[in-house]
Symmetry: C3
Subunit: 347 residues, 3 copies
């Protein structure tokens, strides 16, 4: 990162400066361990105490931020400091070295695969028969693309991604290392002797554009038709999406969530970490689930916030938790009350 002055950054972000406009930075840092010559930001109020102590030279803050005492750093006030940071990070990222281009002679590419322009295919990648890879896609080393898979334009598959036969990934997607698309759904028919016979899974996984899928996340192929991830969905690491599931536009799931088979998740939902949702239900748009929630029923009203095991409306969950917290005391009071009633009855 080349050196920039507070003035240059404020101009770029259309922000205003409080402090020295000439101070220069050449790197970014976290507010809690910022060093001189770096720029940091304050967005989450939890970190406000650090602004008075940070050694960073520049701090991006929201317009609404008013310091309660002296701040060493130069402040740049912007409408939304998190978005401003995003702009700067994008600037930095755009100047990072590009990955190698071209098709490695150490990759295996089937003669029947169709490879677009400006595609990168790294060492030891396997590209099966009739695979289609659109322009600008980047296939890192050790990726596996089964027969008849399709990868959209400018999509990145990081090292070791595995995609089974006939699955489809849209444009501008990012799939992180170790994620697996298209393994067989978990479908078995119970036999009378207690064993299981396998239900063949002949569907696929269909991922639309602008989807990001985390490291070691798994999305199973459908029994029939498609397990369907709509556009702009963001899945964190180690998430499990079972067969026949549908996930609506813009829905985001934090790490280690699990969605059981045939469930339909609406648009713009947010699932915090380790949430579990049972199979064969339907979740309304804009539903928000707190961490570790367990949902075993359909959610019909849009925009509900739910939490708990089993899930309840967030406010109810909080009230219940507060009472549960007091249960030992309440139980003592209850036993005392029983004695009092006994006594009253005796008199």
């Amino acid at each position: 990162m080349i050196e920039f002055s507070a003035q240059q950054i404020a101009d770029f972000l259309k922000g205003s400066i409080i402090g020295d406009p000439e101070v220069k930075v050449n790197n970014l840092s976290k507010i809690e361990n910022g060093k001189p010559g770096t720029l940091t930001f304050l967005s989450n109020p939890k970190y406000t105490p650090y602004i008075y102590e940070t050694n960073a030279s520049i701090v991006l803050v929201n317009n609404t931020f008013e310091p309660e005492r002296d701040v060493k750093a130069t402040l740049i006030k912007v409408e939304d400091s998190y978005k401003a940071l995003s702009l700067l990070l994008n600037l930095v990222a755009a100047n990072m070295p590009k990955p190698a281009a071209g098709i490695s002679p150490l990759a295996f590419v089937s003669e029947t695969a169709k490879i677009g322009k400006d595609v990168y295919i790294g060492e030891f990648a396997y590209i099966g028969n009739n695979v289609e890879i659109a322009d600008g896609a980047r296939i890192y080393p050790q990726v596996f693309l089964g027969h008849n898979t399709k990868i959209g334009a400018n999509t990145t598959l990081y090292a070791g991604v595995k995609i089974y036969d006939s699955c489809v990934v849209g444009a501008n997607c990012i799939l992180h290392s170790g994620c697996v698309l298209g393994a067989d759904g978990f479908g078995f028919v119970p036999e009378k002797d207690g064993s299981w016979s396998k239900l063949p899974q002949i569907g696929n996984v269909y991922v639309e554009d602008n989807v990001e899928i985390g490291a070691n996340t798994t999305i199973d192929r459908s029994t029939m038709g498609s397990t369907h991830i709509h556009k702009d969905v963001k899945l964190d690491n180690l998430v499990h999406i079972a067969h026949n599931v549908e996930v609506g536009d813009n829905t985001a799931m934090a790490a280690q969530c699990g969605i059981a088979g045939s469930t339909k998740i609406g648009k713009n939902c947010i699932l915090a970490g380790q949430v579990g949702i049972v199979g064969h239900i339907s979740i309304a748009d804009r539903t928000v689930f707190g961490a570790q929630s367990g949902c075993s029923r359909s959610v019909k009203n849009e925009g509900e916030m739910l939490m708990g095991y089993p899930v309840r409306p967030l406010m109810k969950y909080k009230r219940m938790t507060a009472i549960e917290h007091k249960l030992p005391e309440i139980y003592e009071e209850f036993n005392a009350l029983k004695k009092e009633v006994e006594e009253l009855k005796r008199n």
Copy 2:
């Protein structure tokens, strides 16, 4: 899939037809978005409403199904529609193109490995010293087989499966991409300074016949002896099986379950998703765990259904949950009652 008439399918499944025996289908579909020219099925009663709306041409239903109003589709009645579907899916799957055969010149195969007949070994697979691969096994690209591993006949290891030294996998198994067998068990001896010294794990993983293991599932090697997965066990994705665990015949675990070290799971158990079971306990045959259950004690009676954190018998869990749900109201009533008793005492 070639075109078949309702009559041909009913004959094959030994079912009876309600509707047009001449209607033809050439593909399968889900009941909720079935298209003309496709066959679908109704098994789970949750999907019954869709049968009156589906555009699929044929629906497999159970003999017990009686429509409550008009159904456009031709029905084929069979004893068990899910099993009938399984028969059809197997027929379709059997006619799908077979994976490549033979040993890729781009695989690495140790000179001391013993490879059976009709074995497939894909590109960039690594086959270590003294490995034994039995007839008909299919080793996809980028699989790693450590020294002295043994793979049974007709077993499939999908792309990127990793098996450490000396582990054994039986016949007719299916291991999905990214699953790891034989990583070191999590065993450390605490030292006085708070650090840990590693307890070497010199055992292995032993998987019997007809086992299916999901994508990115991990099964650790034993400290001594074997971590032992018995025949016909089915593990979904992202499951963790710790060292020294034993899992009995036919037991099925849904995604993201975790079994801690040295625990013994009985036969024919069913674990729903995200269940956790602590170490050094024993679970009786045919135990069923609800989703996200946390089990920290041995289960001695066979066939129990358990749920909750910590687990309780399912009926008890349901009653408890119902009361917990009312806790805010109950607590108000309790406080009112306290006041009433106060008043009674005053009089």
Copy 3:
């Protein structure tokens, strides 16, 4: 393993013999299925009943162990039988065949990579530009090391480990198959239309010395700076560490734990399996979390034991759970009490 007598083993461990000092063993076994000619151990009291039945020839026991009835096996008494076992296992492990040395001609190693002495690089491994691998490191087949990564001396990366650009791993670490270091942190800025714009993650992952990381565990790169794993940390399989997290010395996490972004975990903490900890909080040193705990607040006092969802002090959790267990009965009593009070009021 060559044959040793009880006398030889007792001498090596500085233990005392009860029984036949001449009995010989040539292998190790579990106490519950020990065979003649093998050595086993008793440490966890749960396994005490097996000592009277085991067919193992020698059992390591603690000095404090006093048999309540006849034991067939020869006992070797030591101060700490688990540590003594560890010594023996290390002896066995040290005599196991060493992995192949040297750099496979089937690996891809960038011309700009710096490779130390006695380094092993297996088949189909990818070593990017400017990577530094220190002396004695062992890089198994199919590992991916992005540009500018650094691997410390004597560190082992098992088959298929993926490390993104610019991440750093210390000396004497063990990373198990399928773990992913340095995938993008899960950071997105919400847009007004409900979609997400990606916050570039330009930091890295920094792992200190003596760290062990389990199979398929994921540690995300930081937005800025480092996601930081301190020395002697032990992470089990399928753990998720989000961006900007810091994990203190010696902390151990069992399988499937998840730590959300920017949280700081202290030193010498222990997390049992499937624990979830929210983002932007701080956990004091020596905190212990029970299995499946969900922690959504900072922990300030060192050495606390916590459990539950949400977490409470362990003793409180146990009392609450005991009362919750009785809730159906308590609720009946409560309703009876209400009636009694009604009656008292009527009179």
